[in-house]
Symmetry: C2
Subunit: 695 residues, 2 copies
């Protein structure tokens, strides 16, 4: 990928002398920003503004390893073929009119992909705005010079966006606001070849990149993506477009992207520590905050001291903090004492610390600095949120001194500022230079603070140390059971497979006579369950083939007769010990087209169709990852011993999830595993019904 | 209240010659801003900057109807007494050191209240920043002149805030941003006498006020508050501080406010159409948006056309719109045709309308204006969201022309803009003048758009037309049952009361013998339920006094013996027909200290302790209001016939809720009604268990 970011020479194919054309703007931008050789290519000109123009890329001399292509879509395949022929290693196709624009465009994009595959030339785009590198000062894009005329604002946030506008209009927004420095902004468009994974891989090792922010409408190579995120030690922020039905439809027409399963993608991203953004500017605020505080938290403490000049803002901050699982720090005695010294006598010290009375006594600067010193040295405080006000009674310079101090402090500090528009912006810009994120919206400040403090070390991804089968002959049996299986396996067969993988499974037996059924019922103890199994039938309950609460021997016989009647001699009969417990869980495996085999865990039962609480992780996962997965369920309360039920044994549940992932990886023919319900009896989950679908 | 807002003459008690003191600033502000007579009062001066100063308010000549008091807290009661003696009608006490600052302060505040009650003088504050009226140009506050030195920005949004900072620092923020005009900003502090209700009542009839925004840490007179909101035809936006536990604690120390029951307050506010804000600037954005579009929507249609230059922003807008129950409009044929004309041939027309290719062909102005015209005339479109970009390729003036057009359009139009910081702000300011809300954050734009389009006409609050009791003698019986009742009534007695109020109640009977029980069981049909009732005992289940699923005559006898054993001869025995159905609801009455009798409705069962879904309304409510209340339950799906269960008969449920409210209003001794469960059987709710608590 080096030739895209650090090319030796660039051919601009479609360079134009007409200053209103993109081909002119690209040439201009590249000539202004790139120190190496630049070669305009356009058969219509012999020179452009005095610079020699080549009629074909084949004529371009060495060194040239990158071509930027901006010709009508229909001409792109021929031009690309020539680039490959000329030995150019990468082509950035910025023209539109491909997969995003109907059948003809789709075919053109297919031709491009074919050329890439045939010749090995890497293709960036089409339908994109290429690359801007603010650190190196490179603009390989048709964005208007006005976008960067005031100078690029270098920093360490790199962006990967699947949107032209975001890489142009948004860059000008970011740069004129001056509160977030950019390293590389990569507009990748339709991703015919080079995709977010290729760029991500490059950026992970890029010394100029500290934080990576991505806007994506699809993650087709989800498995590779999460692998890269896991490897990255840099914070990664992702904004996904197309989470709603209408949004997904629009994404399909925008960049021909298939949005995929939202909950599964969110799960995969959370698994590898990706921060999810939900709006554009919020994404930038998350990125710049994480650029200031890129380290993961060493512990789970998130105790915040809030310094404010407004009781109301302190209260609302507390409300927001609770929402984000941040604690209002209990200040230690030393801090309380130090604060008492600056407060008037009647003033009780409490966190949030309302500094207004102290400001009245000592002025804003002294009051804030004393208070900040005190809370910063407090071992009960992990981070500080400062509310400040500039303009009017409090000057920008007073607050600047505070910010300078905060920038040197050992504890992460976040600012919220209101007041005079000019001064608010001035303070934000100053604070940025000091490595301090300052926000204009209070909620945003708390949200970004939470993003920093919630970034914990990922569980180690090492081997689980669990072998899928443990007993002698189990693996062989498993192979046999799965070898000629096709379609939806009945629950007995599905659970035999699970049992071979050391799953806790309900006691059950296929029965061949009423006598046997009565005997087994006696062994299991009442109540028992009787089920009729028909090959491929998944609507057992609806057909009346599931009979629970059978409490007496005489009911066994009558129920069996009823089942046999429904089944008219087909299928087989199953007797089960009836498992009673709480909660009802579900677990399973989904083979996602984008993320491959993924483990799922959630709550079952009728209510959960409405209050859906399910989590996902890309397989394989080890025990620690499975425990982390379980912790991501929203309804932790139900797992911790609700209403007198025993707490769920998380280790046992984790083991089950690890094995589900292993089973999916070991047998690619397994399309889906669905354990439902997985009933928790005295804290231990037991698979009561299951279906394995084999392709 | 007129004397606070339009005084004839003002005494400034505590006026100071020392320019660093609040007493000086107030005097200065009032003298600069107020055209009537101003009288400084301070025994230490004979004049202040040449203006005659009085040693006591008793010396102040006519006309004087308002006093602004800024003396140390300890002196306030004496000064206030003198004001009353002098015949002054209102006192604005801006000093702090009262209920917010410990025991002594609380006592001082009590003295103030006593003087108000004794003399009738109205008291605004203490611990507040008084009033700023940007339309009349009045500043009755110690805010520093810098706050308004650049001029007040008149508009029609009035603010009522329980926070000094919000009425000072925030005002400067609002005014220097220049995108929201202010009418009156009222800082009401500790609300010793004048509270949000008094101000709200005034503002509802104030011709200069179009929208009212309130920041509140408590609503002690909740009943009056909702009554006023119902009467107001103006949009009202409320931001509540102290929703979290820590936030509520901080509110108690800030303005001695008791936050109250959050879900109940939210319910009461929703009932009367109040828009709830969650952050300060977001509240202002909601206010300014509603100031531009104060009319309630005439229908439920919320179909939006999105014009954008960024496919990505269109997609993310769709995602946000789904979140806010707004629809992506299906454009009609005429609109599609008009758009096709400006698009390149390959471009399919879809909403969100990505105008970029049209902008490339025709320039931004023409493309936007043509597209805006088309969607505005589309009968399938109710509102328009325009994404714009300023700076770079698109100039501010091009976008300004579009905004001017949008300002005149018949359909509500909302803007999101990004680009050059200066131009973004410029466009927002211009759009404000045109009556068009434009936002810098996309989510905020959609949120504010949703607030406008979700404001429907409130259901009529007229009499329900339902009489609480219908049968002869029922009212007499009801009076008798409630006359000497005390404490928690047992379920039989509670349900007798409900039955007299025409509640659907489970079939049940107190039994005196095993023989009778068997007879009744035969009448009811099996299964039946047997319960042991002990006076005042509310933990029946835990004591083993509830026996369900009794399916045979022989079990009636054995169960009765078991119950009698537990009860050791005390209490009574109840037999019930067992009601089976879905869902399980709960309904009830809560007598809230702030909002009085409130009706509650929600989902019951074990899961709902975790997934709480309950709604509240201040009683009385009529049938339409009850239906609206039911519609506010989050889980509508469970009511509409889930999993083959019949849909809940909403009219019957509404009737029940109306009657619960009536019962609470008719009998003030009823402290609480708790119907749990209210099981829905074949669509009809039946009260299966109930407890009425009487004081």
């Amino acid at each position: 990928m080096e030739f895209f970011f650090k090319p030796k020479g660039i051919a601009i194919i479609g360079a134009s002398a007409n200053s209103t054309k993109g081909g002119h703007v690209i040439l201009n931008n590249v000539m202004k920003s790139f120190n190496g050789d630049v070669y305009p290519v356009n058969p219509r000109y012999s020179d452009i503004n005095g610079k020699k123009c080549y009629s074909s890329v084949l004529q371009v001399p060495d060194p040239v390893d990158l071509a930027i292509i901006f010709v009508p879509a229909a001409f792109v395949p021929a031009v690309l073929q020539e680039c490959a022929q000329r030995g150019i290693r990468g082509a950035m196709i910025e023209s539109g009119g491909f997969a995003e624009s109907g059948e003809q465009g789709k075919q053109l994009q297919e031709s491009i992909i074919a050329i890439h595959k045939e010749t090995g030339i890497r293709v960036w785009g089409p339908n994109c705005m290429g690359l801007v590198d603010a650190v190196e000062g490179l603009v390989f894009s048709f964005m208007f010079p006005a976008v960067w005329e005031t100078g690029l604002d270098p920093g360490n946030v790199s962006l990967v966006v699947q949107s032209g506008m975001l890489s142009a209009g948004f860059l000008i927004d970011i740069m004129t606001h001056g509160i977030m420095g950019i390293s590389k902004a990569c507009s990748i468009g339709n991703k015919a070849d080079v995709d977010e994974c290729d760029i991500l891989e490059y950026l992970i090792d890029d010394a100029d990149t500290g934080v990576i922010g991505l806007y994506l409408e699809s993650i087709p190579n989800g498995r590779r993506f999460v692998g890269l995120c896991r490897r990255a030690e840099k914070p990664i922020v992702v904004l996904r477009g197309g989470k709603s039905q209408k949004g997904a439809e629009a994404a399909l027409s925008h960049t021909a992207s298939l949005a995929g399963d939202g909950a599964l993608i969110s799960g995969a991203l959370a698994q590898v520590g990706v921060v999810e953004a939900h709006d554009f500017k919020q994404m930038m605020d998350l990125c710049r905050t994480l650029a200031d505080y890129p380290e993961v938290a060493l512990n789970d403490n998130r105790r915040i001291a809030v310094l404010t000049m407004s009781g109301a803002a302190g209260i609302v901050s507390s409300d927001f903090m609770e929402e984000h699982d941040l604690a209002v720090a209990e200040l230690s005695a030393g801090t309380t004492k130090a604060l008492t010294e600056i407060f008037p006598g009647w003033m009780p010290v409490a966190n949030p610390v309302d500094l207004w009375p102290a400001v009245e006594l000592h002025g804003a600067e002294k009051a804030y600095i004393k208070a900040f010193e005190a809370v910063c040295h407090d071992p009960e405080v992990d981070a500080v949120l400062i509310h400040s006000f500039v303009g009017g009674s409090t000057s920008l310079s007073e607050m600047s001194n505070l910010m300078e101090m905060a920038g040197r402090a050992a504890k992460p500090t976040f600012g919220w500022v209101m007041g005079k528009r000019k001064d608010v912006h001035g303070l934000q810009v100053q604070a940025k230079e000091l490595g301090l994120p300052v926000f204009g919206e209070l909620y945003r400040a708390v949200e970004c603070m939470a993003a920093v403090l919630s970034r914990n070390k990922l569980p180690d991804h090492g081997d689980s140390g669990i072998s899928l089968t443990e007993t002698t002959g189990a693996e062989e049996n498993l192979n046999k059971l799965l070898m000629d299986a096709r379609g939806t396996l009945d629950e007995y067969r599905s659970k035999r497979i699970l049992r071979l993988c050391n799953f806790p499974v309900v006691e059950e037996k296929i029965i061949s006579s009423v006598r046997e059924a009565k005997e087994i019922a006696g062994e299991f103890g009442f109540p028992v369950v009787l089920k009729g199994l028909l090959a491929g039938e998944i609507h057992k309950t609806e057909l009346g083939l599931v009979r629970t609460d059978i409490s007496a021997v005489e009911d066994v016989e009558s129920t069996l007769f009823e089942l046999q009647k429904i089944m008219s001699g087909k299928g087989s009969l199953l007797i089960q010990k009836q498992v009673q417990g709480y909660p009802e869980l579900i677990a399973g495996l989904i083979r996602d087209p984008q993320f491959g085999p993924c483990v799922m865990c959630g709550f079952g039962g009728i209510f959960t169709e409405i209050f859906v609480d399910r989590v996902f992780a890309v397989a394989p996962i080890n025990r620690d990852e499975a425990l982390a997965l379980i912790k991501r369920l929203k309804t932790q309360k139900l797992l911790d011993g609700f209403r007198g039920f025993a707490a769920v044994d998380r280790d046992v549940l984790a083991d089950i999830l690890v094995r589900i992932g292993q089973l999916g990886l070991a047998y690619p023919q397994i399309k889906e595993i669905d354990v439902n319900p997985l009933i928790v009896r005295n804290g231990l989950p037991v698979a009561v019904d299951a279906a394995i679908i084999v392709d």
